[in-house]
């Protein structure tokens, strides 16, 4: 196993040194920073413009009211504070109408009583001023009534402002924060497997292409090579994800957002969900990397890797689509079936566990299938890799290779 460690160490350093790895990590981190800062910047700008625009209508309304005129046909409104805002008081209704007809004022108000007024305009409607005056008159009447009957207005205000909250709860499902977590889990794992699966298979094919493979096989066992290479690529992927998470948290902190409130939903995670995510995420990730490494060994040229990995890539994309669509309705039977099939359960089971309250028994069954399958996949991958590693001819067919292994003709 010492050689597995050596292969791991060499491959890991080699990946970290690659310009493409460094550039991808930097670009992804910049995307994360941009994704946090840009919406936050626009949100702040919107908020400040809302603050400013919140005072504008009042100012506009004050100016509008100031330009108008009124005629008071009753003494009941002498204490009506709104009248102080309207500059011109007319002695009678006719002079008010004349001023309005001559466009000296934009509107006129004739107050007949505390509960009756005319709002006069000359062609140009002014519903804001009209509604405002109506509202103010209503308040004036209410306050007068409360005063006359010695009623505390705050008490009435309290009674009318009692809020009733209604929350619909489906006890089989978990909160909205979990939905976000399911999305993030699915997306990150999808990205990891697609990116690093291809990295592993390309690396294996390149060793065959440039004939380094024979030197490696002469010095160490194929088993150690595939284990070292797969784990190195796996760790490099996890390191990249970790760097994205750290960048996200730092950016959130510096952009002044409440990290705890944003990730609050995640904190509702219970132990079962956490273990399921880690168990299925890691075993599934490593299983796929083993499969990709074996498929890389079936070809002799780097440019043939795509042909070789397409079938497994299609299966994984199907797993991704089933899971993403399943999030809309986690009780979906397709998602349930996918959560037991090893190549799809890597995404489906953790997502079901995040979104639903499913029985631990279901998780244990799926985990058992997953653990058995990782043993089978890694065993087959090692055998395929061993068989393919020195075949420099045409691309080996997967079915034929599998037959050779099952018949034991590869040893």
């Amino acid at each position: 196993m010492r050689n597995s460690g050596l292969v791991f160490s060499f491959e890991f350093k080699s990946i970290l040194r690659k310009k493409s790895y460094i550039a991808t990590t930097i670009i992804l981190c910049l995307i994360v920073i941009a994704a946090v800062i840009i919406p936050s910047y626009f949100a702040k700008k919107e908020k400040s413009s809302e603050d400013v625009s919140g005072s504008l209508p009042d100012e506009d309304l004050s100016n509008t009211l100031a330009e108008g005129g009124y005629y008071l046909a009753t003494d009941e409104l002498n204490d009506f504070s709104l009248l102080k805002l309207i500059e011109q008081e007319f002695a009678d209704e006719d002079s008010l109408k004349t001023a309005l007809a001559n466009k000296e004022i934009p509107f006129g108000v004739v107050f007949h009583s505390v509960s009756d007024f005319d709002f006069l305009v000359n062609g140009e409607q002014n519903p804001i001023a009209s509604t405002f005056i109506e509202q103010q008159l209503l308040n004036f009447n209410r306050m007068n009534y409360f005063e006359a009957n010695k009623i505390d207005p705050e008490l009435i205000d309290e009674v009318y402002n009692v809020q009733v909250n209604v929350t619909s709860v489906d006890i089989s499902q978990k909160g909205i924060g979990n939905f976000a977590l399911a999305m993030i889990y699915t997306f990150l794992l999808y990205m990891l497997i697609i990116m690093y699966g291809t990295t592993v298979s390309t690396s294996v094919a390149r060793e065959k292409d440039n004939r380094t493979m024979e030197l490696l096989i002469a010095n160490t066992k194929a088993d150690y090579l595939i284990i070292g290479k797969t784990l190195a690529a796996g760790l490099a992927g996890l390191l990249q994800i970790l760097s994205l998470i750290i960048t996200l948290l730092i950016t959130l902190k510096f952009s002044g957002q409440e990290i705890m409130s944003l990730i609050g939903g995640f904190l509702e995670l219970n132990t079962t969900t956490t273990i399921t995510m880690i168990l299925f995420g890691l075993t599934g990730y490593i299983s796929y990397l083993f499969i990709y490494a074996a498929l890389g060994a079936l070809v002799s040229k780097v440019e043939d890797v795509n042909y070789s990995v397409t079938p497994v890539m299609l299966i994984f994309i199907a797993a991704y689509l089933i899971t993403m669509l399943g999030m809309e309705n986690p009780h979906n039977s397709l998602l349930k079936v996918a959560s037991y099939f090893p190549l799809t359960s890597v995404l489906a089971m953790p997502v079901r566990t995040i979104l639903l309250n499913i029985s631990p028994f279901e998780i244990i069954i799926s985990a058992a299938i997953m653990l058995v399958s990782i043993v089978v996949f890694s065993f087959l991958a090692i055998r395929i890799y061993r068989l393919g590693s020195l075949n420099y001819g045409n691309r080996m067919k997967f079915g034929k290779t599998l037959k050779i292994i099952l018949r034991g003709e590869d040893s």
């Binding site: 050596l6 004939r211 024979e214 002469a218 420099y392």
Partner: protein, 330 residues
């Protein structure tokens, strides 16, 4: 240390590539492994290196099953390859460690060999920046890292210019002096003749000869002499030989072989003086009459042609089949 291959057989699909291959090599001696393209050299070497598992037979080191990964073996495959985009020193250390050395040992050894091959200035550069010849030297260096007990070199001289070949020859001579077991296959007979105490000749997957080169040459030169005349060309000299055959009632062909300069004659059961008297009597002015010392090329051609005649019709095109089988079918 003695490496011994006993009745190794290997097939790829329906093509039987190695037929009961047997040979042995001692440490402190270099063995030249010769054969035509597709004769089974690389497959035999890959079996020794445990890259291919033989279908039957055994490979022993001092009468114990040989496990190449448990011994320090320096190996230079025929199909060269190292990481083009990795720093040279890093990958040399890596290969040194894979062979069982510590990091410090491997680094020290790599630096010494880079110095010896005048490549120290490129230690931290990626392999791809080097010329093809220098890349070849790096690949040779990896075979010599960490003082291997056994060195197996498959076509090591291909691609080397005379100056670099000389550096490489010194390295091989040093290894032999240090009592290492050295096997190398080559088409370039001159190099094999220069280093090798022993030779093994393989053709169509069968071992034709295995033993000390001097013995092989002596056996081939037994009763054979080189004859050259000043007054006759080779055709005229052949006519004289035919006349002597009939005069002396010789039952076998006197003419064993010929090259551009002289004829090689077989004087088995004939006293050389009697032959000389006859040829002088035939008015031939002798320019050269000497014991025949075959070159390695002569040895190679002699045995391979013989084997061709023996196997003609039964194993026609086997070399091509073997070559294809090694590279394509499995």
């Amino acid at each position: 240390m003695k490496l011994k291959l006993n009745n190794i057989n290997k097939s790829f699909g329906k093509v039987h590539v190695l037929h009961d291959v047997c040979f042995e090599v001692d440490s402190g001696r270099a063995m030249g492994f010769l054969g035509r393209n597709g004769s089974g050299k690389t497959t035999s070497i890959r079996c020794i290196m445990d890259i291919f598992k033989p279908d039957s037979g055994e490979i022993l080191l001092d009468d114990q099953p040989f496990k190449p990964r448990e011994l320090k073996v320096g190996y230079l495959p025929e199909e060269r390859g190292m990481y083009a985009k990795e720093p040279i020193i890093e990958q040399l250390i890596y290969f040194g460690q894979l062979k069982g050395g510590t990091k410090q040992e491997s680094k020290k050894s790599a630096e010494e060999w880079l110095e010896r091959f005048e490549l120290s200035e490129y230690a931290t550069k990626n392999l791809e920046v080097l010329s093809k010849g220098n890349q070849q030297k790096i690949q040779i260096i990896q075979a010599f890292l960490n003082e291997p007990e056994m060195i197996i070199l498959d076509e090591p001289f291909s691609g080397l210019d005379p100056v670099n070949a000389e550096l490489f020859k010194d390295a091989i001579r040093d290894a032999i002096k240090k009592n290492k077991l050295v096997i190398f296959s080559s088409h370039q007979m001159g190099y094999v003749e220069e280093f090798c105490d022993d030779i093994t000749l393989i053709d169509k997957g069968e071992i034709l000869i295995n033993g000390p080169l001097a013995d092989v040459k002596a056996e081939m030169s037994h009763d054979k002499y080189r004859v050259e005349a000043t007054n006759l060309n080779r055709e005229q000299l052949k006519q004289v030989l035919r006349q002597i055959e009939s005069d002396l009632n010789i039952e076998h062909d006197l003419l064993a072989n010929e090259d551009k300069i002289s004829l090689i004659i077989d004087l088995s059961n004939i006293v050389p003086n009697n032959f000389l008297q006859k040829i002088i009597a035939a008015d031939v002015q002798i320019k050269n009459f000497s014991v025949y010392l075959p070159t390695l090329t002569d040895v190679f051609l002699h045995y391979v042609k013989d084997h061709d005649l023996q196997t003609n019709g039964t194993k026609a095109n086997d070399s091509e089949k073997i070559q294809d089988a090694e590279h394509v079918a499995k």
